[in-house]
């Protein structure tokens, strides 16, 4: 934002000089009357839209920006590296189980010019697991699963919770009651058991069923938030004005209420993604996420006792680290978004 010009104090110029200056300014203004003076007088900041301003505010939040960069790196790695690596994540090498991480050996490389150089080299940067599979490849592929589940299940939350919450908040009545009772019921249930029982009833876990089950059992928080927003905004003056002008329900919901209710939803959705990722990892840890050999950060930690007793702690440390880093970054980004969208609320 451009700084406001501080007007020159009157006393400095003296009475006479001041009136002359004002007259001169008037003249200038008259001369340029054809130019659009109005826009030029508005400070720069106001020309930026709400989202651009929020973006700028977010970038000023250093921790959040760094977290976003880390997340972007993880996402890019998780999306593209598995394509290049093919089946590396499931190739077993029984003779080289429990290969230690960061073990480099010298390797002769012949450069195109025919010069032989010796470089430090490692086949498995982060070592290999109990079956001799490359730990780094599994970690990256596991990240893909985590992000996929996190984002798609959140999309499900937004679709189910968003629409039901909006309808309940706007129309109230029977539907509202039904929604609130459903929420009570979900809260009263032990969530992990529910997911385990439902996936069992569906006959085994695949990535699709996992995402669907999480989406159908976990949407209530977004739903409640959306309902609260709609309940509050439907009584607000600008909505009443729109209604008085004869706007249809459809128009009021999508043009007037929805855009104004997005801020808390966006924040809650961002933070919710880390919650889903941790939930998926917990299920994987318990053995109820996607089955082997597909890796996920949770199921890589399964059977941790065995790894600890064999003193192969790195196999526990790397997936944990990946999980905590991702969750922490998402939470920090979510917090940055909250500050950026609603600077008053801190």
């Amino acid at each position: 934002m451009a700084e406001k010009e501080t007007p020159v104090p009157r006393s400095l110029l003296g009475g006479d000089t001041y009136t002359k200056a004002v007259a001169a300014e008037q003249e200038l203004r008259m001369a340029h009357a054809d130019e659009d003076l109005v826009t030029t007088e508005i400070p720069e900041g106001a020309e930026l839209g709400f989202w651009k301003l929020a973006g700028l505010r977010f970038l000023r939040h250093r921790v959040a920006t760094v977290s976003l960069a880390v997340l972007a790196t993880i996402a890019v790695l998780a999306i593209f590296v598995p394509i290049l690596q093919g089946n590396l994540y499931r190739d077993q090498d029984y003779r080289n189980g429990y290969g230690q991480p960061f073990l480099f050996h010298a390797r002769q490389l012949t450069l195109p010019a025919g010069i032989a150089v010796t470089v430090p080299w490692t086949d498995h940067l982060l070592g290999t697991d109990d079956l001799g599979r490359d730990e780094l490849a599994r970690l990256i592929r596991g990240g893909r699963v985590s992000l996929e589940v996190g984002l798609l299940a959140m999309l499900g939350y937004l679709i189910i919770g968003g629409s039901l919450g909006a309808i309940a908040g706007y129309y109230r009545g029977f539907l509202d009651n039904l929604l609130m009772r459903f929420t009570d019921m979900i809260i009263a249930m032990p969530f992990i058991l529910v997911v385990v029982a439902v996936t069992a009833a569906l006959g085994g876990v695949t990535l699709q069923t996992l995402i669907l089950v999480i989406a159908f059992t976990g949407w209530y928080e977004i739903g409640r938030l959306m309902r609260a927003q709609f309940l509050f905004l439907r009584e607000s003056e600008f909505v009443q004005a729109a209604r008085a002008l004869g706007a249809s329900d459809f128009r009021i919901i999508f043009r007037h209420i929805l855009p104004n209710s997005l801020t808390p939803i966006i924040v809650s959705a961002t933070l919710g993604v880390s919650g889903i990722i941790l939930l998926e990892a917990a299920l994987g840890f318990l053995g109820y996420s996607i089955p082997y050999p597909e890796p996920s950060w949770g199921n890589m930690l399964q059977g941790f006792e065995d790894k600890l007793l064999r003193d192969q702690n790195y196999l526990v440390v790397f997936p944990s680290l990946a999980l905590v880093t991702t969750a922490l970054c998402i939470n920090l980004v979510g917090d940055g978004i909250r500050d950026a969208l609603d600077p008053r609320q801190r």
Binding site: R181, D184, A188, I192, L193, A197, A201, A282, F285, L308
Partner: protein, 321 residues
């Protein structure tokens, strides 16, 4: 007020009924019979079929449900398939273990989180405040199983190496062998309680901080300061009383969780509590146990939600139902 409570009780009962139908159907609709796991593979199929028939599991779920509901209303939870004893006995054995573990952790985390939250709020943007928010961020982002595993690595494995094989916290269980002493229990509780408490502290201190901040920005606090009261009196006498109310509700709503246990932490530390029981029952398809645990937790949740709402009205005369 009376009609409100009556309505809530009615809704609660309907809710519980509905949940029992859903969970009953869910367990029965799972493909395959329940006795396939953990059974001697050489058991004759006839025997298994006989047992399934005796329990009525070969009929569709909607024919089995009335019998289940009838037994439930007469106070019978049925017999566990795995443990071969009444589910009620099982609950009586397991509930105290979970309450001990989670109750201790709840008390400890309240004892740390409330002062921490107050301290952070009264010195907003100070170093202590920043440190508190960093701790709570990390606490929120660390899943309980990761924390549990790392506590095991350090508390049980590295500590043994450090002390030259003389001392380490036990890897699992509540008691060593037949040693039923209190000291043994405490030693076994250190790691699981720490792992639970750290996560709860993270959440509670954040909540306490924001609750306290909200109160501190109110007019009556400014009035109290303007009257010249000392900061201590204002903070602890005027502000704290109002700021602590939401925490009390939060704690009240946590009580059902004391009974339901912590599935993951109990699993990691092999703590014989309700969480482990429920998870094992789900894995083993021990239908009566699954249903009993789910319904017990649901009942307590509904009850304590109602109590929380009613006590709100009692404490705050502005709330009318």
């Amino acid at each position: 007020m009376t009609s409100y409570i009556a309505r809530r009780v009615l809704i609660g009962v309907l809710l519980l009924l509905f949940m029992s139908v859903i969970f009953f159907a869910l367990t029965r609709l799972t493909p395959g019979p329940p006795f396939t796991q953990g059974e001697n593979p050489r058991t004759h199929q006839e025997l298994i079929d006989k047992r399934i028939h005796a329990l009525g599991l070969d009929r569709p779920w909607y024919e089995q449900y009335p019998a289940y509901l009838n037994a439930l209303l007469h106070g019978s939870l049925g017999d566990s398939y795995q443990y071969k004893k009444p589910v009620s006995t099982l609950l009586v054995e397991r509930v105290p273990n979970s309450v001990i573990l989670l109750g201790t952790s709840l008390l400890i985390s309240l004892g740390i989180a409330i002062p921490l939250g107050i301290f952070a709020a009264t010195r907003q943007y100070s170093k202590v405040d920043m440190a508190t928010s960093v701790i709570s961020y990390v606490g929120i982002s660390v899943p309980s199983f990761v924390l549990g595993i790392f506590l095991l690595i350090f508390g049980a494995i590295y500590l043994r190496k450090l002390t030259g094989n003389t001392f380490a916290f036990p890897l699992f269980g509540m008691h060593r062998g037949d040693d039923q002493s209190f000291l043994d229990l405490v030693v076994h509780m250190v790691l699981p309680v720490t792992s639970l408490a750290i996560l709860t502290i993270a959440g509670f201190s954040r909540f306490m901080r924001s609750s306290m901040l909200e109160v501190l920005h109110q007019d009556y606090i400014r009035t109290a300061r303007a009257k010249g009261l000392s900061g201590r009196v204002v903070n602890y006498k005027h502000a704290l009383r109002n700021a602590i109310l939401p925490i009390i509700t939060l704690v009240a709503l946590q009580i059902p969780q004391l009974v339901s246990g912590a599935i993951i932490t109990e699993g990691i530390f092999s703590w014989p509590g309700m969480g482990l029981l429920a998870f094992q029952a789900t894995v083993d398809r021990d239908y009566p146990v699954i249903l009993a645990v789910v319904m017990l937790v649901a009942f307590l949740t509904v009850l304590f939600n109602l109590l929380a709402d009613v006590s709100y009205a009692v404490v705050d005369p502005r709330i009318r139902y």
